[in-house]
Symmetry: C2
DNA sequence: TTGAAAGCGCTACCAA
DNA sequence: TTGGTAGCGCTTTCAA
């Protein structure tokens, strides 16, 4: 079970066993085989805690996402994990459910585990979180939300551009009454999308009207937000959602009211998750390149030959993807 | 940074600091405050590796899923995590991508981390994996696949029942030509669903014909499998999928061929993931109660007052949920 | 109520 | 090529 037992059985010192197990330093082939055999017989499994404690460093990067139900975050995780693995790093995925308190707890755990770096893909990172992160001295990358500074990078999406494209697209189709459905509007990062929408809409303040509603970050959250909208009086012809995950529920809710997209109401999402292609009608959305973000994150987190990358900010321009859920506004 | 530094600053021994930090043993209130203050000033973060190493045990349960893209597994994880948290356990989610090799590696890591237990929700667990697990001496629960034995429980779904209900439903609607779309048919656990379908279909061997196709466990996998089917000659009027995740893609692919469900082809899924309600037409499926499975898993994994639960097998009967994607077979 | 000290299992350095 | 051994940071007796 322990290195020492293996050493005893093999008739060598623990130092030698360690060398064999880690393929480090010179070991005579015969000794090597003897040790391996002993380890196998004893079904030796190195204690990772002891190893990390003795070694000092770890090859583990922690990623925390707001909501693992939303495939958007899973996509980032997968790409990031693949990239990290190429450099010999393991990544563990944690989630915070949009709770600042949970986030703090998760970060604490990750720091306690002596993670080699942190990828923070959450909407609830405020100053206190950033402060806590800074004190941890760990390299950190924010994906959406947070700010760049020494040792901390930020990968952002230019929501202004994305939302502007959505609104222009819809405006061009004749839409004048909009609804924006968001989630966690109390959180700065989540609010960015709302603000981007508002700004884009205000460019047409002369003839555009809109309402903002809030729901959970889930299809059902989208449904519920839409219900609010439908009760609100303003009968929008276009519904812009903070993300695809919510938009998917909007489509369902519309249908249950006997309304159809895009004939009665146009619907747009954001993110371009895979599901957006499989709903009906296929969702018009804005592509947020998770793989590119993940690669950038990996680059910022993993020490390169040239030493550790300095904290910097990268802003990504998203692209409009027009599919079937948006169309000409109904006259009247 | 370390316990010792805190002790020095507070002018006490490390033993006392440990007591304070862990709220264990008697400590004079004034001392306690002094220590806490020192810890705060130093921004002390306990090293979890040292703690686990010294303490011997951990409150961490590892869960490994085949495919974290499939929301089915995420649902299990979330319910399980909630349940585990109530008992003071943390759970870490890992994935194996249906690779036996990756699974073995992940298990090794978890064992090396001295997990308190393992929840194995994979299709690729064969004898060698079970053997490895048995040797780890850890309490293990299989969710779908695997076998019960000393210290190992298995939570299974009676696929035979579920598939039979699907087939009977479809047969009753007049369908006689079927296709079954599955994934990883080389893996025993994944094959169970196929076998269940086959058995159900064979009950009507007199007048039912069917083909089996395989794709990835993803919507695109479903699409591709359907393409095979459409090329196969047998023009099925009903497509039964191994799970909803694949079925979702089938709906999309059908549409791209100008076919519509359920008018031209009926489609049924399995699992009842949330998305199945949001596709169009809403998917007829079989409910697999993830929350119940997760609770059973937690019960089997977490030591109760009555000592550690013995390995046992629980079989769950799934229920048919008829929605809009299935309908009467087209005459002809 | 507090402290000293013996580990937990492993790595890494220094000698041999 | 090998062994001895001093830690890594924490918990936990056992004494004081």
């Amino acid at each position: 079970m322990t290195l020492e037992e293996v050493a005893r059985l093999a008739g060598v010192s623990t130092a030698t066993v360690s060398r064999v197990i880690n393929n480090r330093g010179p070991v005579r082939e015969s000794t090597r085989r003897r040790v391996l055999e002993a380890a196998r017989r004893l079904r030796y499994q190195p204690n990772l805690h002891a190893r990390t404690l003795a070694g000092g460093k770890s090859r583990m990067i922690g990623m925390v996402a707001s909501n693992i139900d939303n495939p958007f975050f899973i996509d980032i995780f997968r790409s990031f994990e693949t990239e990290a693995a190429r450099h010999g790093y393991e990544v563990v995925l944690k989630h915070s459910d949009y709770s600042r308190k949970r986030l703090l707890g998760v970060i604490e755990t990750l720091v306690g585990q002596r993670a080699a770096g942190l990828l923070i893909a959450v909407a609830e990172a405020d100053e206190s979180v950033v402060e806590e992160l800074r004190e941890s001295k760990l390299p950190v990358v924010f994906c959406d939300g947070g700010w760049a500074s020494e040792r901390m990078s930020a990968i952002k999406v230019r929501y202004a551009t994305g939302m502007q494209r959505v609104v222009e697209h819809l405006y061009g189709l004749g839409h004048r009454r909009f609804a924006f459905l968001g989630h966690h509007l109390g959180l700065a990062a989540a609010r960015e999308r709302e603000r981007a929408f508002t700004e884009a809409a205000e460019l047409h303040s002369a003839d555009v009207r809109y309402v903002i509603e809030e729901g959970d970050d889930s299809p059902d959250g989208g449904r519920q937000a839409l219900q609010q909208v439908l009760r609100s009086g303003l009968a929008p012809t276009a519904v812009v959602c903070a993300n695809d995950f919510m938009a998917i529920g909007v489509l369902t809710e519309l249908r249950s009211h006997g309304l159809s997209a895009p004939d009665d109401v146009s619907v747009a999402g954001f993110d371009n998750i895979e599901f957006s292609r499989h709903v009906y009608p296929a969702l018009t959305t804005v592509s947020v390149p998770r793989d590119r973000m993940a690669r950038l994150a990996a680059f910022a987190l993993i020490p390169q030959e040239s030493g550790h990358p300095k904290g910097r900010e990268v802003v990504i321009d998203p692209e409009l993807i027009v599919r079937e859920s948006t169309g000409p506004a109904r006259p009247g």
